[in-house]
Symmetry: C3
Subunit: 159 residues, 3 copies
Amino acid sequence: KSGEMARLTQFVDNEVFRAFATYATIVLLKMMLMSVTTSYFRLTRKAFDNLEDTVSFGTGETAKKLVRTHPDVDRVRRCHLNDLENIVPFFGIGLLYALSGPELSSALLHFRIFTACRIIHTFAYLIPLPQPGRGLSWAVGYVVTFSMAYNVMKSVLYL
Amino acid sequence: KSGEMARLTQFVDNEVFRAFATYATIVLLKMMLMSVTTSYFRLTRKAFDNLEDTVSFGTGETAKKLVRTHPDVDRVRRCHLNDLENIVPFFGIGLLYALSGPELSSALLHFRIFTACRIIHTFAYLIPLPQPGRGLSWAVGYVVTFSMAYNVMKSVLYL
Amino acid sequence: KSGEMARLTQFVDNEVFRAFATYATIVLLKMMLMSVTTSYFRLTRKAFDNLEDTVSFGTGETAKKLVRTHPDVDRVRRCHLNDLENIVPFFGIGLLYALSGPELSSALLHFRIFTACRIIHTFAYLIPLPQPGRGLSWAVGYVVTFSMAYNVMKSVLYL
């Protein structure tokens, strides 16, 4: 049993995998923070999606009125969805890229730029910063993911 | 060829990986069931997003009126989106955690609690149960994912 | 260091993994194209979610009027979300399936059918084609993912 366990420690010994695991965890945690940010805006703006969520703010008609939208809540929701749309491909393609044996320096460059882009994107969306701040941070992260996809295809293509 | 094949069977021999694969498949299948649940509510409540989807219910003005929202459809859609927002980080961080060589007992505890939380969350959302039922099931699953992220970082941190 | 690197090249040598990496990258890239398609429709239909995005089209009241919905934008957004809901389970379950040591021919069949279905689904959604074109392409991809989940469970079940 401990022999079997030992086999998977190859991942912990591989620097590219460790770098991927570190940056992937950072961006996934960042994405998870959007849930808490949404809750914060829902509670402070008193704008809920479900009647049962308004229970601590009133009952009857008072409660029903709190089932509503609010621009600040909508904004953080869009930011969260944009994270899903971009971090899912980064995780999937990035994992395959990390397993396809890239150079460590090249891998680190991809992971670091993407992570920086998504953090900048979040601030640009929530503050909000004037365009093209948000657009550029999105686009650079997008190109980084494409670059990893190109490298995966070059290493493993099997149709 | 069979030699190459053999190499990846290390995963099937590793208990932590097998546990992750089992629970990850369960929560992903649970998430997929939300698609069918949405279809069920769309068909029974006659509330569609696309005009071409109303074809078996009428034509012309009758059809156009069925392109509408319905509270029951919206509720299951929100539940599905909440699954995406939480099961994606669980899958990503959980996979990295499983590959970082944790104790089997500790890994099983994480996977089992998260899976139970998401199943409870679904029932709490769709019935719906009064709060804080849904809130708690969401929060415990969230903390479990954070705990795995902490363990990944402790094992592999490489910035 | 190069010894550690070498260990992960097992993946590049394994045909099932290479096939998974190829098809998973194709569907993830396809999903990423929905972002660009959304931008294209937003710019040509002049329908934006954020006031700061309208900056090149006007200021003041003119700009505010461009923060609106448009049926073409909504349609591509729904197509993108449907991709997320279906490609996330495909990636997760498909990766576990690829690591569980399936027959190459069986794995290729799963990956190819799913990939074809999602490409057909996108055209069926955006053109749009009359039903049941889109419904069928969704359903076949769904069944393929279930079939992989069944095979994962058969190989690794550990509760």
